[in-house]
């Protein structure tokens, strides 16, 4: 057997807020998704010739 980067061979750690509980792994993934979403909105997209300058023409039936 290979060594894992992180030892996962134990019960998950849970964060509890009153009736609400979430595992560390799930919380980490949700935070990562929020970070990726915000980054996608703000990081500039590389320039290319595949985009028309006309914003308004597009909307087919």
């Amino acid at each position: 057997m290979q060594l894992a980067l992180i030892n996962l061979n134990h019960p998950a750690h849970y964060f509890s807020f009153g009736p609400f509980a979430i595992s560390g792994g799930n919380l980490a993934i949700i935070i990562a998704m929020c970070v990726i979403f915000i980054a996608a909105l703000f990081i500039p997209f590389p320039h290319s010739n595949n985009f028309s300058q006309d914003d308004k023409k597009e909307d087919r039936k």
Binding site: Q2, I29, A32, M33, I36, F37, A39, A40, L41, I43, F45, H47, S48, N50, F51, S52, Q53, D54, D55, K56, K57, E58, D59, R60, K61
Partner: protein, 207 residues
């Protein structure tokens, strides 16, 4: 003569509905130059990796992926492809939600997305059931109680590994592939939805 043949009528109707220049465009409007628009195709890329690694897993079976190094590797590629698939899909969903991308008669695009999401959840769930380890055994016995309490235990028994395998490797991926193809054809036919403050086309079409 040719106008009478069903092949000719089918060809003309197909080309009328699915114009090659709509399906394979060379240019997109300026507002598409943003990373938010990349997550649909990132989801497709993860799905391709999923299907490719899944096909390799079917060739060799559980005894192989639980014990050999290459088996562990392919199993891990499959797992991490699912993780990325769902991350990309959720970011895609958020993007489309906040830009209200169902505007301008694009409701069917949104709905096929919703169905793709639900089919993906069922596919992931049946995947968990067929790992053939203690994890899948625990998930199956807990889920069985959940399904029974919902009254659907007679149709879907989470303890029936044979049924879960067939759903996971055949019916569900085929259904998901079909719905994704439909989703993408709809996007191409309608063109990308204009931004909300730039929406010159909304009058008369469903909001």
């Amino acid at each position: 003569m040719s106008s009478q043949s069903w092949t000719g009528r089918a060809r003309r109707a197909t080309l009328e509905k699915f114009k090659p220049e709509d399906l394979l465009p060379e240019e997109q409007p300026a507002y598409v130059a943003s990373w938010v628009y990349v997550f649909g195709v990132a989801t497709i890329a993860a799905l391709v990796m999923l299907i490719a690694s899944g096909l390799v897993l079917t060739l060799n079976g559980p005894a192989w992926w639980h014990t050999s190094s290459v088996g562990h590797y392919v199993n891990s590629v499959h797992l991490w492809s699912v993780e990325l698939f769902f991350v990309f899909m959720v970011v895609h969903l958020w993007g489309k939600f906040w830009m209200a991308a169902w505007r301008g008669r694009r409701l069917a695009t949104w709905i096929t997305g919703v169905v793709a999401f639900m089919a993906s959840i069922m596919t992931a769930f049946t995947g968990y059931l067929i790992q053939t380890n203690f994890d899948s055994q625990w998930i199956a016995s807990e889920a069985k109680d959940g399904f029974n309490s919902m009254g659907i235990g007679a149709y879907f028994n989470a303890l029936n590994t044979g049924q879960a395998i067939l759903l996971h490797v055949s019916l569900l991926p085929l259904a998901l592939g079909g719905i994704v193809a439909w989703h993408i054809i709809l996007v191409r036919r309608k063109g990308v939805v204009p931004p909300i403050d730039n929406d010159v086309t909304i009058e008369g079409s469903s909001k």
